[in-house]
């Protein structure tokens, strides 16, 4: 099983290396090199998922390297969570590769682009499958650098170059506490292996566990674009759309939530971390939903919506609903990838990315209209679609923690935070989704769309259809306890029988394993949904041309700029660093180097001074000799 996982990770890496090395010389082979190895790894991941079914943890590994203290092991740890998420990642990656084969067919740098996508997929699979935190860190940062190169794919334009650097630096800033957290956990548990850390944490929680998990939240915030470090994701939209679909929707950004799920027992044992996570999630949910409502660019709307949906996952994790959060991760991966790919086609059709210039596109490409509608429906949480079930599962878990949280459950405050923010966000999500839906597909085109270069290539449409299936149907797997919860296994990866949840043999209360939507939260969510959608529809009906976001009034400007968090960062972090840099250079050139030159100058002047005493006058020489003799005689006499 683990060898299949290792192979699944290795194949795309091999493709990437070959692509980067020989891509330029055999462009034709690039397309095949991009898709075939990834297809093989999809089959492998599905095989691993199926063979694992609801079994326990299987882990094999060899020692990667001695370090002088704790050794680092290269091991594959396959449990329910990693098998399923790996399958999702591989599938979405394959679809994106197929989509971009057509989307980027005229781009001269397609071979390096495809190679980087394969490298990214390999890195993501490594993060998912690995059993050692340090190796996870390696995959973690390789993903970061792939996203840097892919965001900067159009390096001809300044905005792409700036966004790429910003994305990498913000995630790198998040990775600093992440690395220290890994060290804290590793040293605390006596090994870097995830298994050892998960088993090593005492039930009552430990100092090192809390500290380690709190520090790792930095990395989670950075990678999953949560509140303190969320500004890089909307700017990352300057990259090609398939990149946004793969990296900034389904996989990389979900890695943050995945790591928390992977080390869940450690997080469960430290309440402080869960409270902080809950606060972070709540803030992100509401604010980014609001920002999404005020955006004018199609992809930025979807970007902000991704941030808010990710907050759902982290909120679910904070509120004790690990299985619910993973369920939402799966469904979100599917419908958000669908939305982004569809957006790619929409922009292709409309010739521009700005919503205010679009309109009435539903007649131009009916397939896109219906798939996008399904996607938006799932996003909003319209009952039959997958989004509804996963969102309700998260709210259900939060409600259970808030109302009758048991001993092992997270503190109640996390439950309340997640519920309130979740329901509120449901309304806002409905608002911006409906606004998007109406302004793009209904009414008249506000700007004459350019004459398209012929029908949208079938390779771009086919993945949309494929993705619509899980968007619609995936909700079902949450209904029965023996399906998704059983597949995922318990938080520490161990399998469990159907009755174990009931008689309390597992880590958490039975309610957390039941993902079926609860009545109370469902009704509230649907009500808010109807309210939000209705209000926007009414606004739109009054004046189809105008932008429903005008209702925000003065709040519109700051909301569009993400409450000026960027300017805050610029003032607090970037400018002081430049000042410090200039000051340091001044100190280096004048002060430290100054001493060196002063020493040289001193020697020079001393030489000049003494040399002047050699003025050729014998009397002076004699005086010098006898003065020396007097001084010497006196010192000798005194000392004697």
């Amino acid at each position: 099983m683990t060898t299949a996982a290792a192979l699944a990770t290795g194949l795309p890496f091999l493709a990437a290396v070959l692509g980067l090395a020989f891509g330029r010389r055999f462009p034709a082979a690039a397309r095949a090199l991009a898709t075939l190895p990834l297809a093989a790894s999809v089959l492998l991941t599905w095989a691993v998922a199926v063979r694992h079914d609801s079994g326990g943890v299987t882990e094999h590994g060899t020692e990667l390297t001695p370090t002088g203290a704790l050794d680092i092991t290269l091991s594959m740890r396959v449990d329910g969570l990693s098998a399923i998420v790996a399958a999702l990642v591989a599938t979405v990656a394959l679809l994106v590769q197929v989509y971009s084969a057509a989307y980027m067919r005229k781009d001269p740098r397609y071979s390096s682009y495809a190679a980087l996508i394969s490298l990214f997929s390999a890195a993501m699979l490594l993060v998912v499958y690995t059993g050692d935190l340090i190796v996870l860190l390696v995959g973690w940062e390789v993903m970061g650098v792939c996203s840097y190169f892919l965001i900067g794919h159009y390096w001809e334009t300044e905005v792409a170059r700036a966004a790429a650097v910003k994305a990498f630096l913000v995630t790198k800033l998040g990775d600093v506490p992440f690395l220290i957290g890994v060290l804290v956990l590793g040293v605390g548990a006596g090994s870097f292996r995830i298994g050892a850390i998960v088993d090593g944490v005492p039930p009552g929680g430990a100092g090192w566990a809390t500290a380690g998990t709190l520090l790792m939240l930095g990395g989670v915030a950075g990678k999953s674009a949560q509140v303190p470090l969320q500004t890089w994701l909307p700017d990352a939209m300057t990259g090609p759309t398939p990149v946004s679909a793969l990296i900034h929707a389904a996989t990389m950004v979900a890695a943050g939530a995945y790591v928390v799920a992977r080390l869940y027992p450690v997080f469960l044992a430290s309440d402080a971390t869960l409270v902080v996570l809950a606060v972070m999630a709540a803030l992100t949910m509401v604010s980014s939903a609001l920002f999404a409502f005020a955006q004018d660019d199609l992809k930025r709307v979807l970007a902000w919506s991704t941030v808010s949906q990710l907050a759902y996952m982290t909120g679910g994790l904070a509120a004790g609903g690990r299985d619910a959060a993973v369920f939402h991760l799966l469904t979100h991966g599917a419908f958000k990838a669908l939305l982004f790919l569809a957006a790619g086609v929409v922009i292709h059709l409309a010739g521009t990315g700005r919503i205010s210039d679009m309109g009435g596109l539903r007649r131009r490409e009916p397939l896109v209209f219906w798939t996008m509608t399904a996607g938006l429906g799932a996003l909003v949480g319209v009952p039959p679609l997958s989004g509804f079930f996963s969102k309700e599962a998260v709210l259900g878990a939060a409600e259970h923690t808030a109302i009758d949280g048991g001993a092992g459950a997270p503190p109640a405050v996390t439950g309340w935070l997640v519920i309130v923010a979740g329901v509120l966000t449901a309304g806002l999500t409905a608002a911006y989704a409906t606004r998007l839906w109406l302004r793009v597909f209904f009414g008249e085109a506000r700007k004459p769309a350019p004459e398209p270069h012929g029908p949208t290539p079938v390779l771009m449409l086919w993945p949309l259809a494929v993705l619509t299936v899980p968007t619609v149907l995936l909700g079902v797997i949450g209904l029965n306890e023996s399906w998704l919860p059983a597949w995922l296994g318990d938080a520490d990866g161990r399998a469990y029988g159907s009755a174990d949840a009931a008689n309390g043999l597992l880590l958490q209360a039975p309610a957390y394993y039941d993902l079926a939507p609860r009545l109370g939260t469902s009704l509230a969510a649907v009500a808010l949904l109807a309210l939000g959608a209705g209000a926007v529809y009414a606004l739109w009906r009054r004046d189809p041309a105008a932008d429903p976001a005008r209702v925000l009034g003065r709040l519109r400007g700051p909301a569009e700029r993400g409450f000026d968090v960027d300017r805050l960062y610029d003032a607090v972090v970037v400018r002081p660093v430049w000042l410090a840099a200039r000051a340091t250079r001044f100190v280096d050139r004048v002060v430290i180097d100054g001493y060196v030159h002063a020493a040289a100058q001193g020697t020079w002047l001393a030489g000049g001074g003494v040399r002047r005493s050699q003025n050729g006058n014998v009397q002076v020489y004699l005086a010098g000799v006898l003065a020396g003799f007097v001084v010497l005689a006196v010192t000798v006499a005194v000392r004697a």
Binding site: G607, R611, L632
Partner: protein
């Protein structure tokens, strides 16, 4: 071979009767200085009979004399031979004190002195012989061969005797025999500069000698003895009243020798004298005269004034630090200012004598552990002789065809005379103490080792800084050797001589004796670099200061 007291010149039985005036002399011991002195006389006489081109024989004669002296050193290996011994004074009951003792130290110093003198003779051949190497142009105008060689050999005889002297009288006489001919040698060219240099050197040297003698008299008065070992014995049991007198005497004696080795502040004569004197004489002063000065210092401080180590130790430490620093610092200005080659070598030799003084600075207490500190100076002296003579030889060679004598003349020498340039680079890097000049490096490590073991940390740090300052001007010169010629017109020579820089293709002749001298120095340098144990053996010879 045979232990003290010598079997040969056995002291007449001191037991019976009054002092017997007839003394038995160990001729083998005093053979080297005798050989050199007789060679001097032979050269003086030969000068009467040889005339015209055959005057070149004078140089060969003096070389032969020096060679025999070297040969005569061989049987004395093993050391420990003494002669001219005063009988044990019945009153004090001390051991017989001898005035002329050939110990290991003496042998090493005599070897260095005679060897260096031979090289100086080689260097002065073109200058002293009318033809075929003589040339009227350039700074080395002809010098009367006969007088030159006589004076040189006389001076060397004085130096060799000084190395073996064990009592103040012999020391003073030997010192004067060394100095007086040197004054004449400096002024032998009878030109304005030579005269001025000779006068300055004479006046300062005489004043210093007067001070030295005054010190000797005070020391004699205080201790009642003239022989160094007796002085040492007397100093340990001196009654306090005479303490200040003895201390002042000691100080004054050290001033005399400090002048001889040109320690700062007694260095003023050196740059002017070297610049005024012909280059071979400058080489002679910088090596033989300085080594003899250090020999005197070693004997007086090491043996005579050993109980007063706590007095002169710190004084010499300060002197050493001053000498190194002043020498290096001014040399830096000379290298980048006027760039005069001989003057630069002069200041460099002042700095080098600073390094030799450093082990003296570590003396403290009653000088018990001096025996394993001072040999570092001896080792450094030997290495210094080789590298300094090499450098002077090259300067003499280049100086003949480039009378301006500026460091700039050496630009691009590697293209005109590759081997000459490589030899010069080797000597300069040896003086700096940097590989590939391993010989210099080992000598400096030996000195560093003695000063660190001696515990005077501050002196070690000062020397470390000085090594760095010194590297600057040695490297400026070495870099010039390998630099491409400066494009554009050669700098206009001051007095219009056709002395363009080397780069402009000025011819550079290397006469045979110069080539031999440089080859000898370079060869010895390489041998000592590869196998330093030959010279460093001195460090671990037991009782070197016996």
């Amino acid at each position: 071979m045979n232990p003290v007291p010598p079997t040969g010149g056995s002291v007449l039985a001191a037991a019976h009767g009054p002092l017997s005036l007839v003394q038995d002399i160990d001729w083998a011991a005093i053979a080297p200085p005798l050989a050199v002195a007789s060679a001097a006389l032979v050269v003086l006489l030969a000068d009467l009979f040889l005339s015209g081109p055959r005057k070149v024989w004078l140089a060969w004669l003096s070389l032969a004399g020096l060679a025999t002296a070297l040969g005569l050193l061989l049987p004395l290996r093993g050391g420990g031979r003494a002669t001219f011994c005063a009988p044990a004074d019945p009153a004090t009951g001390g051991p017989p004190a001898c005035s002329y003792v050939v110990s290991d130290l003496t042998l090493v110093l005599q070897l260095v002195l005679i060897g260096s003198a031979a090289v100086v003779v080689l260097l002065s051949m073109p200058m002293t012989a009318p033809r075929p190497w003589a040339d009227e142009s350039g700074s080395d105008r002809a010098v009367p061969g006969g007088e030159y060689h006589f004076l040189l050999l006389a001076s060397v005889a004085g130096a060799v005797t000084l190395a073996a002297a064990r009592d103040l009288v012999t020391l003073v006489v030997a010192l004067e025999t060394l100095s007086l001919p040197a004054f004449a040698l400096v002024g032998l060219r009878r030109d304005a500069r030579g005269g001025e240099a000779a006068l300055k050197y004479f006046l300062l040297s005489v004043a210093a000698t007067a001070v030295l003698l005054f010190g000797v008299s005070l020391l004699y008065g205080a201790t009642g003895a003239v022989h160094l070992d007796r002085i040492a014995a007397a100093l340990t049991t001196l009654d306090p009243k005479l303490d200040t007198v003895a201390a002042t005497g000691a100080g004054l004696v050290l001033v005399g020798f400090a002048f001889k080795v040109a320690a700062v502040p007694f260095h003023f004569w050196l740059p002017d004298t070297y610049r005024g004197a012909p280059v071979p004489v400058a080489a002679y002063l910088s090596v033989v005269s300085k080594t003899a000065g250090f020999a005197g210092l070693l004997l007086v401080a090491g043996i005579g004034l050993r109980p007063y180590a706590h007095v002169w130790g710190p004084a010499l430490a300060v002197l050493a630090a001053l000498t190194m620093t002043v020498g290096n610092v001014v040399a830096v200005r000379v290298a980048t200012g006027s760039g005069d080659a001989v003057r630069l070598l002069a200041w460099s030799s002042i700095a080098q004598s600073g390094y030799v003084l450093v082990p003296f600075g570590t003396a403290a207490g009653d000088g018990a552990d001096l025996a394993d500190r001072l040999p570092a100076s001896v080792a450094y002296l030997a290495v210094y002789a080789v590298m300094n003579l090499g450098a002077f030889a090259v300067v003499a060679t280049v100086g003949r065809d480039r009378p301006t004598g500026v460091v700039g003349d050496y630009r691009g020498l590697v293209r005109v005379r590759p081997w000459l340039a490589l030899a010069m680079a080797f000597f300069l890097l040896c003086l700096a103490g940097l590989p590939p000049g391993l010989m210099g490096l080992f000598a400096k490590v030996a000195v560093f080792q003695s000063v660190v073991a001696g515990g005077t940390g501050w002196l070690a740090v000062v020397m470390a800084v000085n090594v760095v300052v010194a590297l600057y001007y040695y490297l400026v010169w070495t870099a010039l050797l390998f630099q491409p010629p400066v494009p554009g017109p050669p700098p206009v020579a001051g007095d219009g001589e056709a002395a363009g820089t080397l780069g402009s293709g000025g011819t550079l002749r290397v006469p045979a004796p110069f080539a031999v001298a440089i080859g000898l120095a370079f060869g010895l340098g390489v041998v000592l670099s590869v196998a330093p144990q030959i010279v460093l053996r001195v460090l671990t010879v037991p009782g070197l200061l016996g």
